[in-house]
């Protein structure tokens, strides 16, 4: 066992954290978030130049990272800055299946910051079930045509290319019969309705009406690819939550030491000190489970590997949901009234932390999933 980061990873972590701390002030983040695009193209290019997109992509497809550890490092740094640029949609969810099939051309453009992706997978009524796909794909002379509805697709409106899941066979909740397609969003069969999300991001409802798609991998056997993409996503947002929780904790600590009431800093009260300590412990627990999940993300042998990998991912996501809510609520409470204002940074962290519980399955969903995979591991 070795808990130390390699020199290269330590450098990457330092670079990412320093850049985000110095070059990514929250006012600028808000401005980018509220803009038409929902993020800053200039900033995205800078992130690409720093190598932070490539750090999410494995060397086999010309990236320079892509392991669980890399993803965790990058996203913890992104979480510290509440970064709104589409790392998750493009570098994780969109890129995942392309990594699986070795599409170097597209990934090269992704790494350079020149191609934006989105994974259009979730559907109305599907909640967090990965196999819940009603969208259908049928093969005709003109190729595959896809029809269906996709919901809350992160970065769905900005993507240059959509990765769309669809069913070619089987019942609605079956793992068999799923396929992934690359879909050009600028065709008549694709309609997108975009909206901002409460945590500063953007998403879209996407209607596909006979949209033309090009298969990724073997149609009908895409479930494993979808699971891997979402697994990477779970790890990424868990790390992002950790980074955001660290900052929320630090902001609160600072506030407790400076805010004076009854003639002394409110942090002089033992009740608040103890609550901070409990929060600190739980955040360290998240970090520990995250390290575990990161270390098993790349297991891809047989069913046993899959069970271990998915079990550890669900463990950390469950904990992120549980601890995230604690941290968000406690840090707001300890700040008092000012935490209810837009002007303070803290509530924006709290919003992102809580909304992460709504991505890829909440704390209960992952507890159930943990139980299911635990039975397979045992």
């Amino acid at each position: 066992m070795d808990f130390n980061l390699s020199e290269e990873r330590q450098m990457m972590k330092d670079t990412a954290e320093r850049f985000i701390r110095d070059q990514y002030p929250i006012e600028q983040r808000h401005e980018a978030s509220k803009s038409e695009l929902g993020f800053s193209r200039a900033m995205w290019r800078e992130f690409a130049d720093l190598g932070l997109i490539g750090a999410l992509i494995p060397p086999a497809v010309d990236g320079f990272g892509g392991t669980g550890e890399d993803i965790a490092l990058v996203f913890e740094a992104l979480g510290r800055g509440l970064v709104v640029e589409p790392f998750l949609a493009t570098g994780i969810l969109g890129a995942s299946s392309l990594i699986d099939i070795g599409d170097k051309a597209t990934l090269g453009a992704v790494i350079a910051g020149e191609c934006l992706l989105a994974l259009a997978h979730g559907e109305p009524g599907g909640r967090y079930e990965l196999s819940h796909v009603k969208t259908e794909a049928a093969q005709s002379d003109a190729g595959w045509k896809i029809t269906g509805l996709k919901s809350v697709v992160a970065n769905g409106c900005r993507a240059d290319s959509l990765i769309v899941s669809a069913r070619i066979a089987g019942e609605v909740d079956a793992e068999e019969g799923l396929a992934l397609f690359r879909v050009d969003p600028r065709q008549p069969g694709v309609a997108r309705r975009t909206y901002g999300t409460i945590d500063g991001g953007s998403a879209a409802e996407i209607t596909l009406d006979g949209a033309v798609g090009e298969p990724i991998g073997v149609p009908g056997e895409a479930y494993a690819m979808i699971e891997r993409a979402i697994g990477r996503g779970v790890l990424a947002v868990s790390a992002e939550a950790l980074g955001a929780m660290e900052v929320a904790k630090d902001l609160t600590l600072e506030y407790l030491k400076t805010r004076v009431q009854f003639g002394k800093p409110i942090g002089a009260n033992q009740v608040l000190q103890h609550r901070m300590v409990d929060m600190l412990i739980e955040i360290e627990q998240v970090r520990s489970c995250l390290m575990l999940a990161a270390s098993t993300l790349d297991l891809k042998g047989g069913e046993a590997d899959r069970a271990t990998r998915e079990r550890n991912l669900s463990a950390v996501k469950h904990l992120v949901g549980r601890v995230g809510r604690l941290v968000a609520e406690e840090t707001i409470q300890m700040h008092g009234g000012v935490a209810m204002t837009w002007e303070m940074a803290l509530p924006h962290y709290a919003k992102r932390i809580v909304m992460i519980d709504h991505q890829f399955g909440d704390t209960d969903h992952h507890l159930e999933r943990f139980i299911r995979f635990s039975r397979e591991v045992a």
Binding site: M1, A294, H318, I371
Partner: protein
């Protein structure tokens, strides 16, 4: 970063496991598994067994007979002891006094006492708490007064775990009642319990067991060479020891084994026509706990590894103590609830060696409520969890 065990670490685990399987007596394992009362002879047997492999002292430098293990090896050893059903290693001599003597003891003290700790010849008790000095340890009143080449000690110690098995006690005493601060004027003395003037009285704990004691000291004569560290500077020594007391206090190995037992019980007990383990609510409670424990295990290893080889973590060990005891208590809570009404029957005789009677319910149910109540102590002893939070607030959060 690599969270998998290396080949060497795996080989070490195999060695420990094989050795325990071969050498640990089935009689002891049965007693531990049934939570039966361990006698002094039982502990002595276990300690002597460890001594044959020179595995008694994990925390000591090798030149004093320590194992020289890495944090990961210590973790593996702790796990394997729990898996094998070994008794705990009584910590007072080897984990607490040993490191103190190595740091602060005179050469004569080291030469005299360290080998006797390793061999199990001496059984030390911890004379820290007093009736008026619990969390506020520095308010202790037991006093020691110079008389030629002796101290005369008068006072009372309490919560003295297994003092009825001990032949010696390390003790915090007040040598300067006029010191400016309560922490000053305290000294660290080694006391022979065979001395006249010492009386040990049992305290029966809430489940009716004799594990802790009161120790009364009346005009006890202690040679001045039994002073450890400078006179009136015993608080420094005391704190050094407390840090050691908290190592391993997370009890990850024991909790992991307890979780295995909880799962076994939940697989056996029935609810609504199926195993309790299949009940969604109970399964969820167990799973939450298991996730906490998974985090705890990595957290524990991280902290110990970060402290560096042979060094101790500082206030981080307080974080481990809080979370570790919470998890441990939570497990005993679920175990108690798992057996339903059969948690209630209490047969004190069932915890004597060789008991062969019939339990009203399942055998395994008998110890569960007792264990639940007994484990309440873990968030109180070794500095209550509230005191640990104070320590973290001061040293890690800068309050």
């Amino acid at each position: 970063m690599d969270l998998s065990y290396t080949a060497e670490e795996q080989a070490f685990r195999d060695d420990v496991r094989d050795w325990l399987k071969e050498c640990l007596s089935p009689r002891l394992v049965t007693k531990v598994r049934k939570a039966q009362r361990l006698t002094k002879a039982d502990y002595d047997e276990w300690h002597s067994l460890l001594a044959t492999r020179e595995w008694m002292a994990w925390h000591w430098p090798t030149e004093h007979g320590g194992t020289g293990w890495t944090p990961v090896q210590k973790h593996i050893f702790e796990e394997e002891m729990a898996v094998a059903g070994a008794p705990r290693i009584v910590p007072f001599g080897v984990n607490m006094l040993g490191p103190v003597l190595i740091q602060y003891g005179t050469q004569a003290q080291k030469d005299t006492y360290l080998p006797r700790i390793l061999s199990g010849e001496d059984w030390w008790a911890q004379g820290y708490s007093e009736p008026g000095a619990g969390s506020d340890l520095a308010s202790l009143k037991t006093k020691a007064i110079w008389d030629g080449d002796h101290y005369i000690v008068n006072g009372q110690k309490t919560w003295t775990t297994l003092a009825h098995f001990a032949n010696r006690m390390f003790c915090l005493v007040r040598t300067d009642p006029f010191a400016a601060k309560p922490q000053q004027g305290i000294s660290f003395l080694l006391i022979d319990l065979d001395n006249p003037g010492i009386e040990i009285r049992p305290i029966y704990t809430l489940e009716g067991e004799h594990e802790v004691n009161e120790v009364f000291l009346t005009d006890v004569r202690v040679p001045v060479e039994n002073l450890v560290g400078p006179e009136n500077d015993g608080w420094t020594v005391a704190k050094y020891l407390l840090n050691y007391e908290r190592t391993g206090i997370a009890g990850v190995g024991a909790s992991k084994q307890a979780l295995v037992e909880l799962k076994r019980i939940a697989a056996t007990e029935r609810k609504d026509g199926r195993a309790l383990a299949e009940d969604p609510l109970f399964a969820a409670r167990m799973a939450r706990l298991e996730i906490d424990l998974m985090g705890m295990e990595i957290f524990n290893l991280r902290v110990v590894a970060a402290a560096g080889e042979g060094k101790l973590p500082g206030a981080e060990s307080s974080l481990l103590k809080i979370k570790g005891t919470q998890v441990r208590q939570e497990i005993t809570d679920l175990m108690r609830r798992a057996v339903g009404p059969y948690a209630a029957p209490d047969l004190p005789e069932a915890f004597d060696e060789g008991w062969n009677g019939d339990a009203p319910g399942s055998d395994y149910a008998l110890a569960l409520a007792r264990s639940y109540f007994n484990m309440r102590k873990t968030s109180i002893y070794g500095g209550s969890n509230e005191i640990q939070r104070n320590i973290v607030a001061k040293h890690l959060l800068g309050f």
